[in-house]
Symmetry: C2
Subunit: 365 residues, 2 copies
């Protein structure tokens, strides 16, 4: 029985447990704390930044993969040096860890993305603003997620605090009419498999809702997204699941916003909505097993995030109100604003499917 | 977070893990051995016949349910006396434990079943044979499963060895053209929910294949099966999933063959084939939560059991050959003839769905 080790015990590791159970794969998790979301599969609790901790954990595993992208490069390199099969590998993960390096690499690959530049001083930012209508998005190269480390600026000194710590990324503020996400899986031996392109609806910089497939897609947009994801997956050598967050701009361009090299919030809809979920596919990919069919189980799938908490009585009430909706709880204690679970509805009609998902999610408001 | 304790660590307990993860239910398993199929959720290893072991395990659980029906009545009664919520309860489980009591209770409920009698001597068996064309099925009241404890007899002395240990059950040998199974879930508070009626194909007294729904069903057969399962579930007070194994006789009768009060092999097809699987529904039922929609995800579902073992390379080969088929491994070491996993295909056309399931299963021959 192959052993897959996951560094990080969040909900992504948790949601790998069901497919591991089905596939007869032993999942082991290095969790941050004993009460981590993926505690059921935790075989170790420790700091993922500590080389000795990670190496000891990895010694008992056939493959190492991740719940998040925060494992330091030095630790990743030590893993590889010790002979671990690390998927995705350090050379790929680098581009999910550092947004400046990501932009540089995407430029080399010729992938369409917003105009961008590396900014080291307020003067350089002023120059970029001047060239882009006085508006820009500034991002810290590392450590940002769910809207953190991202700032809309119109004055050159608005990033001074960040610039004190080093260079930042300045990006064109794209006028887009929606955000899309293209999920793809790639095996170490090369084969890739795409899921249908989805629309992601953000609130406050955080994913709130996903519609699969993205409604009213043009062939051109669909093809562009597929080509971008395939180019990035192969070009960067990603192994496992890659999520490419995209803008569909008002002038018809499809541009890369962010990359994530792991199962991703935009793919939670695949658990109930696809023949092969992103979590099953991730396990298959990192084991270099054949990839599964990614066809939808129904014409439409709608996923809604739940923040804060999912008390059991509310889960029961949601299930009672919507008997065909699926509730996924992450087993976390209550905390304001934190992703605590999600609900998914699938169906034949978009409006009706959205209605059912929202009606279930409303029980957690 | 509610805690459901499962007595027994076999594949049925194992397959409760994924829905427990999704629903935010903490699953705890009292396993027979550290390498039990459901070891991931095992919080105790011990003998389910030992009252102290079971009581200690149950103390930390909100609800107790089962992987099998073998927990002795004395232990079940002790659990109830200690205040545990036991689902199904001892009074219901009795009829899944003792086939003579089951036949008696079904007679009281007016449920159609084969002619039967309690036989204590070879002379009594001779009388039953004389009344039934010289053929009968003899069953030990307790301990039989997968064809064990069942014997086709035509001579009165063919059950002498069993009769030495006490009375046996003699049943009419029904001429049937196929076997069916009706799955139903019932909450402690009363509501029930049926799945579509399935056909089960047995080989050597063991379930080999399940087709959902049973092809070429007449309305009368469908109605009869639904009525039987509902009558039994309510009449016996079953809580959780009840499987009613049925004969569709050549003279058009629908007759109860066996009962199982737990998720059942005939319902494995619901994991991939139904909006709500039998394992999710069982958890919801024993928690007295609202029951889920049991509609199929596709017109046809086909489940094929795998015996002996599921080596990982064969799993990978099966997935590579059939990218839309789902493989379920039970994490057991190899053993001749033992159920080791199953494969499921769902699809729009029956022939094509059967073909894909069999093509995947062939990798484990």
């Amino acid at each position: 029985m192959p052993v897959v080790g996951v560094i990080g015990g969040g909900q992504l590791a948790r949601m790998m447990i069901p497919p591991a159970v089905a596939l007869g794969v032993e999942l082991r998790v290095l969790a941050e704390a004993p009460d981590a979301s993926a505690r059921l599969a935790a075989t170790a609790v420790g700091d993922y930044r500590d080389e000795a901790t990670v190496l000891a954990f990895a010694r008992e595993c056939d493959v190492i993969t991740f719940d998040h992208e925060h494992v330091p490069q030095a630790v990743l390199q030590a893993l590889v040096a010790a002979g671990s099969a690390v998927h995705p590998g350090p050379d790929a993960l680098l581009y999910a860890q550092d947004k400046l390096m990501m932009r540089e690499r995407l430029s080399q690959l010729g992938v369409p993305q917003p105009d961008w530049t590396r900014v080291s001083t307020a003067d350089e930012l002023a120059g970029f603003l001047a060239d882009h209508g006085g508006r820009a998005v500034v991002k810290t190269p590392r450590g940002g997620y769910d809207g953190k480390g991202v700032r809309m600026v119109s004055q050159a000194h608005e990033a001074d605090d960040w610039l004190a710590d080093g260079p930042v990324l300045a990006e064109e503020r794209v006028s887009f009419h929606r955000e899309l996400a293209q999920l793809i899986a790639r095996r170490p031996s090369g084969p890739t498999q795409l899921w249908p392109l989805v629309e992601t609806v953000q609130r406050g910089g955080v994913c709130a809702e996903v519609i699969a497939p993205a409604p009213q897609l043009t062939d051109a947009v669909e093809r562009a997204a597929a080509e971008i994801a395939t180019t990035v997956a192969n070009g960067v050598g990603v192994t496992g699941v890659l999520a490419v967050e995209l803008f569909e701009s008002t002038d018809g361009r499809v541009l890369v916003n962010e990359l994530a090299m792991r199962p991703h919030n935009s793919g939670h809809v695949t658990i109930d909505g696809s023949i092969t979920s992103q979590f099953e596919q991730h396990l298959r990919a990192v084991l270099d097993w054949p990839l599964g069919d990614t066809e939808p189980r129904a014409p439409w799938g709608v996923m809604i995030n739940v923040f804060g908490e999912l008390p059991s009585p509310a889960i029961a009430a949601a299930l009672g109100h919507q008997p065909a909706v699926k509730v996924h709880a992450y087993g976390k204690g209550p905390r304001e604003g934190r992703k605590a679970g999600h609900v998914t509805a699938i169906g034949d009609e978009l409006d009706e499917t959205v209605y059912r998902a929202r009606a279930a999610a409303a029980h957690f408001d």
